[in-house]
């Protein structure tokens, strides 16, 4: 347990140390590449102003993810119930998925007046597909013998959904959720990059752009640090959630 966490922590520390030494020994100017220590100082000094933007980015990310869960699961359930609907709509979902977000974000920003709502839609578009496709797969993955058993005991469609299909689909859904968690953050940041610092409220992406215009490189890195931290937090949180929910299914669990 300890060694499992120790090794990546030491690696990270070594990388940061190498970075610090490189900047100091090679006399790299801080507007080109700030040292980790300077980034930490900048983050500390600007935390008050960055926190508001961080909060905004978190709001967009998690709202988009929540909507992606609701939308993805709902559409997956409809697809599972009706193959005709799936055949009709799945290509549309694929089109949404394969269209690069940066390419349609400007359009969405034109059509939707509220920047926040537009950002939310952009993040949703990239986040919902993994949940949809994984849940569709999971709802179909029920064990053939168990399906027969439910038929033999004359289970109602509701019982089948609740007691067989949903628990079968859970690991698939969680797999999708782990991917979508990261994607919703990427979606939120990418869309805001395209939107620029236009809205009333601004997220971390706007702060990075803003700092870049002023060549405040340490501040860019400070905002970036918060984004990386958020992404890792999301990844770990869903990993832990998934591990917890599926703990009884694994051997020695």
């Amino acid at each position: 347990m300890k060694a499992r966490h120790l090794l990546p922590a030491l690696t990270l520390l070594a990388l940061l140390l190498a970075w610090e030494l490189l900047v100091r020994l090679a006399h790299i100017p801080h507007y080109t590449l700030p040292a980790p220590s300077l980034i930490a100082q900048t983050l500390w000094a600007n935390f008050g102003s960055l926190a508001g933007s961080w909060w905004f980015t978190l709001k967009v990310t998690f709202s988009a993810l929540a909507l992606a869960c609701a939308g993805g699961v709902l559409i997956a359930a409809v697809f599972a119930l009706s193959p005709a609907v799936e055949a009709a709509l799945f290509p549309v979902a694929v089109i949404l998925q394969v269209t690069p977000l940066v390419a349609i974000a400007p359009l969405i920003l034109i059509y939707i007046e509220s920047t926040t709502a537009a950002l939310l839609l952009c993040a949703w578009i990239v986040a919902f597909f993994p949940i949809l496709s994984n849940t569709v797969l999971g709802l179909r993955a029920a064990d053939a013998n168990l399906r027969d058993l439910f038929r033999l005991y004359r289970a109602t469609p509701w019982q089948r959904l609740r007691l067989l299909l949903t628990p079968t689909a859970l690991p698939y859904f969680l797999g999708g959720l782990r991917i979508s968690g990261g994607l919703s953050l990427i979606g939120a940041v990418t869309a805001e990059m395209v939107a620029g610092a236009a809205g009333r409220e601004t997220g971390l992406a706007s702060r990075i752009l803003e700092a870049s215009f002023r060549t405040e490189t340490p501040k860019m890195f400070a905002a970036l640090t918060l984004l990386v931290f958020t992404g890792m937090l999301i990844f770990w949180a869903f990993n832990a959630l998934s591990h917890h929910l599926l703990r009884t299914r694994q051997k020695n669990g």
Binding site: D148, L152, L163, R249, K251, G253
Partner: protein, 255 residues
């Protein structure tokens, strides 16, 4: 000797699947009330199709199938698959509870019956365990407890012990006979093992190669209860030889 009424009867039942495979051709057989009958044959001879017809999971392409499952008598038929087919997300208790749960019985109201069923297969201490924590034999015991929870009249078993080791298999064979005797079950048991079918059954039906139908019937006249000593008796060895000869006649030297 008067024969008890059949609980399952196939009259010239045929089954052709959508992909053109003719699994059964004019197959006729009976399972009398309280009887233990084995269906013996190699893989792919249509044995499982007989069980699926009897359970009402498939409809015959022609001919008739009579069984309690088809008469709408709910939970009168139980099915044990080759795999334990347990829900990995549910405890042993909840797995066994499933048939009662589907019939609308609450967990609390089912407690006594589930615990009795678990005692019946020797798993009284494992109700809270999850399938991933059990051995293959224990998983199959759970599967049997689940099948017996509704107190079915007919138990259909599709090579349930094929994946188990010899020792576990022998023990489960003996336990199954005890449950059969205690609960007045009628059992239709599919197997590809001559020895297993002789040890368990009153009658063994040999199924011919695809399309399947009954090509030979061997009566095992040894009395119950049958202990391990039965496996060393002359009657046992004689029945095994007779069945092997019937299989050879049906399949040639390959059998």
């Amino acid at each position: 000797m008067d024969t008890p009424p059949p609980v399952i009867q196939l009259d010239a039942a045929s089954k052709r699947f959508g992909n053109g495979v003719q699994a059964l051709e004019a197959c006729s057989m009976q399972l009398a009330s309280g009887e233990f009958v084995s269906l013996l044959g190699p893989s792919g001879c249509g044995k499982s199709t007989v069980l699926r017809l009897a359970a009402g999971l498939e409809q015959p392409s022609s001919g008739t199938v009579y069984s309690p499952a088809l008469q709408g008598a709910e939970a009168a038929t139980a099915y044990v698959f080759q795999e334990p087919a347990l829900m990995p997300w549910a405890s042993v208790f909840d797995n066994v509870w499933l048939p009662l749960r589907l019939a609308g019985h609450s967990r609390a109201a089912s407690r006594d019956r589930v615990e009795a069923a678990l005692r019946g297969v020797g798993l009284q201490d494992f109700g809270a365990a999850f399938p991933a924590e059990l051995s293959g034999g224990m998983k199959m015991r759970t599967s049997i407890a689940r099948a017996l929870i509704t107190q079915p009249r007919v138990l259909l078993m599709d090579e349930p012990f094929a994946a188990l080791d010899e020792i576990t298999r022998s023990r489960l064979n003996s336990d199954l006979l005890a449950l059969w005797a205690a609960q007045g079950l009628s059992v239709l048991f599919v197997t590809h093992s001559v020895y297993e079918s002789v040890f368990l059954s009153q009658r063994v039906l040999v199924l011919g190669q695809r399309p399947g139908r009954v090509v030979a019937e061997v009566r095992i006249n040894a009395p119950y209860p049958r202990s391990a000593a039965f496996r060393r008796s002359g009657a046992y060895l004689h029945a095994c030889a007779e069945l092997s000869a019937a299989l050879e006649a049906a399949y040639g030297d390959a059998a």
